[in-house]
């Protein structure tokens, strides 16, 4: 899974396979991080105001 795992090899199979996994995980992680950070900012901007319902 990581280059420091003992069975890792810098070959095409590892790069395609693990590239796909890390690509998907990066999108999921980045998307979720964006939502959480934006929610923190939005909440702090709202202050004590009542939230508007979407």
């Amino acid at each position: 899974m990581f280059p420091f795992s003992f069975e890792w090899a810098w070959d095409m199979s590892h790069m395609v396979f693990m590239g796909g996994l890390w690509y998907a995980l990066s999108i999921i992680g980045a998307g979720l991080t964006f939502c959480i950070i934006k929610a923190v900012i939005d909440t702090s901007r709202d202050g004590k105001q009542e939230p508007d319902h979407h």
Binding site: M1, G31, D42
Partner: protein
């Protein structure tokens, strides 16, 4: 405890005691499964009737079946967020919940099946990059994360939770970029649904399963993805219909169901044509090339040629033809018959690609192998059904799952 603040506004739910009674009954079944699960984890896989002939058994069939049936989630996400079929927003919440249940069940079954769940992470850490099953494990886990992300905004819409500003904004933001998550889900689903089919198709020592390849992918790779996209929506429609019957309410407009059914029908009919071509090529070219005749695979009383007819004609062409015709979709009896047949069809397909593969004798001195699951295997296969009923019941009671419910069931 007063439940009213937890129940979405403008909808009616059954009384607390009725709900508790129902939940108690389902929980009893769940506990039976949990007991069997712990028995297997404590005593080991000797609690099952699997053997050297049946390394894959009831669990793997259940696994493949729930993953195919949960395909309604990725396909409805694809249609709604990428193709732009906005009408399906009225059913996508429920499709996501069903997908979430199916995929969490699949992971649970795998955790039981590997016998040593504490080492489950090995498949990630020490990944065999030449294995279709590694790809399945990666995509399955990642897609379950996507489904969880798709489910969270709905949970955050619970009236009580929505009052917390942070959760309100979080749900709103997640809705905002849902198309990105949905697209990721489609990418992941394509590969894990396909690789599950690929596992069977690459078994050149099992001529019943082996198929010709396009590059590195056997035909079964594409057929599995196709069938999940075709029959998954039928399962969503079926569960919606059951929920409507139990709650005695109309929850989704007919126009939405019929659009979903129409798309599913065209997917089924194109899938089953491709499946027929694949079967004919396998029967007349691939299998004879490996020294087998078609009827060698159907010489058992259990696995006879009727099973192939049932899968392709009765549960393939028939539901497909019903669903692509306007009259077939508009008649609720024929619609539900088609939907049920399609669901049975994809389950039969997964059954033969897992269990018949194991049963067929490969060497001339072999007999047909038989296998009967133990009660522990049955209990742990029933467990996800009870779990699913609990999740659906809780979601329906406390979350605004069906956007059209208020309009279709006005409270005086």
């Amino acid at each position: 405890m007063n439940e009213t603040p937890l129940i979405p506004a403008g909808v009616k739910r059954c009384s607390k005691w009725q709900f508790s009674l129902w939940m108690a009954a389902v929980t009893a079944v769940l506990l039976w499964g949990v007991y069997a699960m712990f028995l297997i984890w404590y005593k080991g896989l000797n609690q099952t009737n699997m053997n050297n002939a049946y390394g894959f058994a009831l669990w793997i069939w259940a696994d493949l079946a729930v993953i195919a049936l949960g395909g309604g989630a990725f396909f409805s996400g694809f249609l709604t967020y990428i193709i732009g079929k906005k009408e399906l927003k009225n059913i996508i919440n429920f499709a996501v919940i069903i997908g979430f249940i199916c995929y969490s069940s699949a992971l649970l079954i795998l955790a039981i099946d590997i016998g040593q769940p504490l080492r489950g992470w090995f498949i990630f850490w020490h990944a065999n990059v030449h294995s279709m099953l590694t790809e399945v494990a990666f995509c399955l886990s990642c897609y379950f994360a996507v489904l969880t992300i798709e489910f969270i905004p709905l949970i955050l819409e619970n009236p009580k939770i929505d009052k917390v500003p942070f959760f309100h904004h979080l749900g709103h933001n997640m809705h905002g970029i849902m198309a990105i998550f949905a697209a990721t889900g489609v990418f992941l689903s394509f590969f894990h649904q396909g690789s599950l089919g690929g596992v069977a198709g690459v078994l050149f020592g099992r001529p019943f399963a082996f198929r010709e390849h396009i590059f590195i992918w056997p035909f079964t790779f594409f057929l599995f993805t196709w069938s999940a996209a075709a029959c998954g929506p039928c399962f969503t429609i079926l569960v919606t219909w059951i929920t409507e019957k139990i709650t005695r309410k109309k929850l989704v407009k007919d126009s939405v169901i019929q659009l979903f059914a129409k798309i599913s029908g065209w997917m089924i009919i194109t899938y089953i044509i491709a499946k027929t071509i694949d079967t004919l090529y396998w029967a007349f070219v691939t299998a004879p090339g490996l020294g087998f005749k078609l009827m060698d695979f159907y010489a058992s009383p259990t696995y006879n040629i009727g099973l192939l007819f049932t899968e392709i004609v009765l549960c393939g062409f028939v539901p497909g033809l019903i669903l692509i015709t306007k009259r077939g979709r508009e008649n609720s009896f024929s619609l539900m018959t088609a939907v049920i047949l399609a669901v049975i069809g994809v389950c039969i397909n997964r059954w033969v690609m897992v269990l018949q593969v194991m049963a067929v004798p490969v060497l001339s001195f072999n007999e047909w192998y038989t296998y009967m699951p133990s009660w522990q295997e049955i209990a742990t296969t029933v467990l996800p059904v009870a779990y699913g009923l609990i999740v659906i019941s809780l979601a329906y009671r406390y979350l605004p799952v069906f956007p059209q419910e208020k309009e279709l069931n006005p409270i005086d």
